[in-house]
């Protein structure tokens, strides 16, 4: 329904700036994908899929745009149920590719449910937070949000698809933050995640620099997870330290609640145990990736090779690039996974600094528009959904650029709208369609 105010101001039903940014990114992405696959044996299939995914994606985009987004809130149970069934089904009927059972094989193309699950999760979570907005500052709500995610994460681990969790976890945090959750609760979660990541990283650093073991304290720290007794000792030690700090604050009349000290100790202890679990669960290639990130030159022919070659590709592109279809690094196969996870290396080599700048700016425009749409949204649900989608793009953008520029470890994460990948493209365009739907149904006068 279009509301026309007296002034004759007609409400725009489509955010054309956003759409323009999407088209530019799609064009760059398609050119880069075509250029990078020319030497690959599966070239024909990739081009076919890309040409199929773009119209399908645009169709889904149009459908999501025209459909009132509030229906997802009304029917959230169906959305959640469908999402769980979709993910569970792939464990039963899916096919294995690259060690993960995450694909439905259809007659013409394959579908990766985890890509759609991400959008579904954002919708379900937005509904949950919208309903609990009055009790958002209670721990119960935060835990409830994670409880809602838990089955999804569980099904993703079963595939296993760690990169999907890597993307989803920050999205959940960002939505909680945007909804106004207590900073204390969020920092506990963040601290917990930080510590469970910190322990494996510290241990890896020690492995990389064996001379550090000379110090008995570090040696003790390294062997902390070896026996249950030393772990128990660690738990007891942390509790005592926390208690001592609390006692100190009481003596100093600092008037700080003991809850904080207990919480800090708990986070540390839980983080430690999670760290041990993470370390034992880490596959060898993931361990290698972590090592390579911490010390890129340690293995130039092995795991570090990908990153090094991608960096050479980007660096050799220079300001103007070597021309589309003329990059030697990517076309001759020095850059691995060049049409998916390392698509930015192709862009950097062939289109140069200006190409990279264009991609980064288009991403910035896209994220800015999604954020503006959030502010304009008719209701809180729409606001939260937009925040989730903003978070999704932010995470993809940060990880992909960060990885290729050497700020974060190698993670098998594509760059939406640029990388080859039918499911990812369709799911992304669906998410953007929902954004446009929220925009189209915004308050008229703002």
């Amino acid at each position: 329904m279009i509301f026309t105010p007296q002034g004759g101001l007609k409400k725009n039903r489509m955010d054309w700036v956003l759409f323009f940014a999407v088209l530019v990114l799609l064009a760059i992405g398609t050119a880069a994908v075509f250029s990078s696959v020319t030497a690959l044996p599966q070239q024909a299939r990739i081009i076919r899929v890309q040409f199929m995914a773009i119209p399908i994606g645009l169709a889904v985009f149009a459908a999501a745009w025209s459909l009132n987004y509030q229906i997802y809130q009304d029917q959230w149970k169906f959305v959640y149920g469908f999402l769980l069934l979709f993910l569970a089904g792939v464990l039963l009927f899916g096919v294995v590719d690259k060690g993960a059972r995450s694909w439905y094989r259809l007659p013409i193309f394959s579908v990766q449910p985890s890509e759609f699950a991400r959008v579904g999760l954002i919708l379900v979570l937005a509904n949950f937070l919208d309903k609990r907005i009055g009790k958002i500052r209670e721990l119960k709500t935060v835990l409830g949000a994670f409880a809602l995610c838990l089955p999804v994460f569980f099904l993703l681990i079963k595939q296993p698809d760690f990169s999907a969790i890597l993307i989803n976890f920050p999205i959940v945090l960002l939505m909680l933050f945007a909804a106004g959750a207590s900073l204390f609760h969020l920092s506990i979660i963040l601290g917990y995640a930080f510590i469970s990541a910190l322990f494996p990283i510290l241990w890896t650093i020690i492995v990389l620099n064996p001379e550090l073991m000379d110090s008995s304290l570090i040696s003790y720290f390294f062997h902390l997870s070896d026996s249950p007794w030393s772990a128990l000792f660690f738990v007891a030690g942390m509790s005592v330290v926390a208690w001592l700090f609390w006692q100190l604050s009481v003596r100093l009349y600092a008037n700080v609640s003991g809850v904080y000290f207990a919480g800090a100790a708990l986070v540390l202890i839980l983080g430690f145990f999670s760290g041990v679990v993470v370390k034992s669960q880490m596959k060898e290639y993931q361990q290698k990736r972590l090592e390579v990130f911490l010390s890129p030159e340690s293995d130039p022919r092995g795991a570090g090779y990908n990153l090094l070659q991608a960096r050479i590709a980007i660096g050799s592109g220079g300001i103007f690039g070597r021309g589309v279809f003329s990059g030697t690094q990517s076309r001759l196969g020095f850059v691995p996974e060049r049409h998916t996870d390392f698509i930015l290396a192709v862009v950097g080599e062939e289109m140069g600094f200006w190409g990279m700048l264009l991609v980064a700016l288009m991403y910035a425009v896209l994220m800015r528009r999604v954020m503006q749409c959030a502010r304009l949204a008719r209701d809180r649900f729409g606001y939260l959904v937009n925040c989730g989608i903003f978070g999704m793009f932010l995470v993809y953008f940060g990880i992909n650029f960060g990885m290729i520029l050497g700020f974060s470890p190698v993670a098998g994460v594509p760059l939406p709208l640029l990388s080859y990948g039918g499911s990812n493209l369709v799911a992304t365009l669906m998410a953007l369609g929902i954004v446009e739907s929220i925009y189209a149904r915004r308050y008229a006068l703002v």
Binding site: A179, G333, F334, E349, L357, A364, F397, Y443
Partner: protein, 613 residues
Amino acid sequence: MIDRQIPQDRLDLVWTLSYGLLLLFLLRLINLQVLNTAHYREIAEKNRTQIIAQSAPRGRIFSSDETAIATSKPSFSLIYFPGQLKAGVETDRMAMAISRQLGADYESIKGSISRAALREKPVRLAENLPPKAMLKLSELKAIYPGIDIIVEARRYYPFGAYLSHLVGYIGKMDTKEWASRSMDKNYSMDSRTGKAGLEKMYERELKGKDGGIFLEVDSRGRLNRVLESRKWAPGSDIFLTIDSKAQAAAEEGLEKSLTGKGAVVALDPRTGAVLAFVSMPDYDPNQFVLSGSEKDKISSGKTLPEFNVALQGSYPPGSIFKIITGAAILESGRLKPEETFFCPGYYDAGSRVFKCWEKKGHNKVDFITGLTKSCDVYFYNAGQRAGALTIEKYSRAFRLGQPSGIALPEEKGGNVFGPGPRAAKKSYWFIGDTLNLSIGQGETLMTPMQAVGMIAAVANGGLFHRPYYVDRIVRNDGQVTLKSKPEILSRAELKETTWTLIRDGLHNVVFEGTGQMAKITGAEMFGKTGTAQNPQGKDHAWFVAYATVNGQPSRVAVAVLVEHGLHGASAAAPIAKAVIEAVLREDLAVKKPELPFVGPPAEAPAVKPGARV
């Protein structure tokens, strides 16, 4: 959306964070793509290119009459590019076919193919292919796409051992040399470099700029396409002062001599230009070019005859030293040249008797006769009168004891014998030493290079030039980059009458004395024979000579040493004659029949030092 329950400023915070992230990435991008492009582009280029170096033809080496002594000829190599053909049954069949065509060992070819496939680098399967095999291999090339034939330039010495001690040879680099050259982009692991002589001294000029085939390969080393085929640039040509005819005469003469060992050096007394340079035994430099393995065979079998007799061989000069003694006698002013001594065939030094080489004696002998007949007794007497110190002084004036200064490595300077060095060793000088010194025996040592310097000085009036053998170096674009100029090192200041008397004596030596075998019709020959006693074996034969035509300044001086040649007159003089004839061939165009040989062949062995008679 207006909703008091949601703190919207949190969204601003998130946006600020994203903005910071974007800025961080842009800074890093500028660092990578704008500031460090050249570095990364170089790595990317190295990644994708592989080079098959094609060695450039080395500069040619010509004699003064433009006969090529060292040149290059095309050589064909068989190359295998891995990747196009996977190692397996196909390559085994290919190895079989190639080994059948080349007559090479199947296992070794198969081995190099599989090694190349493993390392993903192109490899030379065979080098220096004969043209006959080329046609058949071209057929194989059509069947097996992984192999190719490239043409390279290979060093070639058309005359084999000819002038080998001056030209030197080239060969593979050893580890040490490669370490010092690895930074030079013009050298690769299997480049050949000069190992001795001219090839080593002028490596920089002779080595051209290598060409190469630049291949684009993918990440697995498979050949994608040929990027560029860079043409080589040949090295500079070197023109020597060597006269090819004189050189040939010297080589032939020395080869046919009694032992075939020794040295011949001919100079132009006007400039110091080397006209002929032979040292035997010599070697064929072609054998080192071919491959490393052949060199190993030779070096393991017998030692390489790299010893340069002309520069490094120090011999007692014997009677040719009488030129210096004569100069000392005349310059001392202690006796007149007309003064005679009686030669009964021996000289009684009181405690010992020193023989003359002619047992019958020479009767009354003056300076000219003494030199002509090479009468030892005259020089015993006259040398004593002149004094050992005077002789030592003039042997220094004739540059004994110091290298001639030719641009070749490890030249020896001979040895000065006399009271001075003896005193330095804190030892005594005896009368017998003076006698031995007078006739060039004792501790005096001379290299053939010094001998020719001495006779050239007689020819040109005492000038000692730095001997040189490179006349000019011409770059491949025709520009002369180096042109040698004569350089005077020192001058033996002797009175004009002294020179005249010595020259008269030397002329008489050839005309009627001991050196008659060197007589040339149409030219004035001046020479001196020498027979140097050798305690270790048979005597060495010396002959030094120069010639003038129609009173013009002399154009050639030559020194010949035949190791263990017994007699200077019979062994060395004919070689000198042949060399001088070759140099003066145009002046002697009307050749006259040689005179029949008459007279005594040579000096007899005179004195064994320390022998009592």
